[in-house]
Symmetry: C2
Subunit: 324 residues, 2 copies
């Protein structure tokens, strides 16, 4: 049995029911929209976010109708951002099939994203889930701010690690943190548990993004689904490079940053990758990710022992151990 299957086991029925619910809310009378939506849901995502919501709910109580509403909201918002991302990155593929912008066009993709966003909001509103909405709007704002901060930082060739953590918190960890918070909120008003789960989500979210950024240096294109060295080509300075730069003289660091600045050739990307590997940028970044995961796991120890906690602990480990 695969690791992820073991992790999902305690909430596998909930995840199945979720798939049905998710499809049912996306039904529409508009023929073209229905065609695009059917195509969109034909390839199921990993559903990591609903999984986190269900597990967080079961950690502190029991999944209920509100948990489903929260999971649907989050997955709608997350899907909306993926569809918009593919437009801005001019990505041709998603989940092994053509992206919406590639199969149709940019216009349809942007409109579909807006529709999914609005649907997510309406579900919250129709069900009077004001607090879910608050948590998620804050995350959506942070996500767009984080992406913009990343663009600014890569233009300035900023190599400060705190700036890096700020970016990955905004663009990735904030939504994962929101998932844990919403799962908790759906079953209890307890403020302490909510704060703890929020922090747990933040820590595993940070580790998740660090692991993703490591793949850009060591992954295989065929497994991670995008070419290795992509971040360097886009002049994104991530943790492995930041740590490697800290290990060398100012002069050498400057030379490497200059290669990233001007890089055009395949050889330039390879030179940066080799530099990072030689200076143990990968190992140091992985150590930081594991640090976050260990902190996250310690938070879980403060919750009662049950099958959801077992799965969350495994999920935390999986985040830094996964190969894609």
């Amino acid at each position: 049995m695969k690791v992820l299957d073991q992790i999902t086991l305690p909430v596998s029925k909930e995840l199945e029911k979720f798939e049905e619910y998710f499809r049912s809310v996306l039904k529409t009378d508009i023929g073209l929209l229905d065609t695009v939506v059917r195509y969109l849901v034909s390839r199921k995502g990993k559903r990591i976010r609903p999984l986190l919501i269900f597990l967080s709910a079961n950690l502190v109580g029991e999944v209920n109708e509100r948990t489903f509403i929260g999971a649907t909201m989050v997955e709608l918002l997350h899907t909306a951002t993926l569809v918009h991302d593919d437009v801005v990155d001019e990505a041709q593929e998603r989940r092994g099939i053509l992206s919406i912008n590639a199969k149709w066009n940019n216009k349809i993709a942007v409109l579909l994203g807006d529709f999914l966003l609005a649907k997510g909001l309406l579900i919250a509103i129709e069900n009077n889930e004001f607090e879910f909405l608050h948590v998620l709007s804050e995350a959506v704002k942070l996500m767009s701010e984080g992406e913009l901060l990343q663009i600014q930082t890569s233009r300035e060739f900023e190599t400060d690690e705190n700036r890096y953590f700020e970016i990955i918190y905004s663009k990735t960890a904030s939504l994962i943190s929101a998932c844990c918070e919403i799962g908790c909120l759906s079953v209890t008003d307890d403020k302490e548990m909510r704060a703890k789960l929020k922090e747990f989500g933040k820590l595993i979210g940070l580790a998740f993004q660090i692991r993703d950024d490591i793949f850009d240096y060591i992954g295989k294109t065929s497994i991670i689904g995008k070419p290795v060295g992509n971040d360097i080509r886009e002049k994104k300075i991530t943790l492995p490079l930041i740590y490697a730069l800290q290990k060398v003289s100012d002069k050498e660091a400057k030379a490497i940053v200059n290669i990233v600045k001007s890089n055009k050739k395949r050889k330039d990307v390879k030179e940066v990758i080799d530099f990072v590997i030689e200076n143990d940028g990968i190992g140091s970044a992985q150590a930081t990710a594991i640090d976050f995961i260990n902190k996250a796991k310690r938070i879980l120890q403060e919750f009662p022992n049950n099958s959801a906690r077992e799965s969350l602990l495994r999920l935390a480990d999986y985040i830094v151990e996964r190969e894609k």
Copy 2:
């Protein structure tokens, strides 16, 4: 004094205060985002939507803090859709200056749109304006659905007028209707007044879009800011063409639709425009717009006579009389 200046007179102070408020909520610590936002607000829009909200509020009571919050939400959402529209239409200009996608790029424009959308939601949430949010999410959903329905319709070369009204209600009138509803909601819970103002907004919104679609046939490029015949080139079948097609034999209508289908040359666009003008498509469409405006004005007669009502009556007339 220009017509629009006269119309805005009863709420000119509110509109000034609105500008300040709007800018203040958009302040951000992220340098790049701040630069883009400053550029965005450097050219003020027509602020038709805040105007409608303030006038609707004063029609049934008095503008208050809640009215400002509603106006800010709406303008944020409206601005977000404009920024996204320019991406999907690859528009190079907006309000006489370069569009965000042209001055920066698609990525920054899509992210800025998402940021503005999230900001609009957060303002509602922070101020506990649950009902504003409900009204506006419904409008945002309708707007994306309407645009998608229009794409579908133009692919099918559908020439049914009811389909046309459905599209322009979704993509344009729903938000204008929401403005009138929110203005009312900000000062009173009265359900009857709310329903009447919602209907008023719907009617002037429909007329507004019909007038816009007429410009595509008779406008001057230098005034309306986009080339005449643009809709035909994009295979959009709007009311002037629909009415002209109803006046001729099935055979002739089919021939014209075939020109729209295959049109590539400048001469094709001219032939369709001439056909519409010869068969009084413009006059008939204008008559329908005026019909909507008259119905809208009759609704206003049911409200007490005050300066806001006077302005709304003038605004209704202005919508079908304006030349750009």
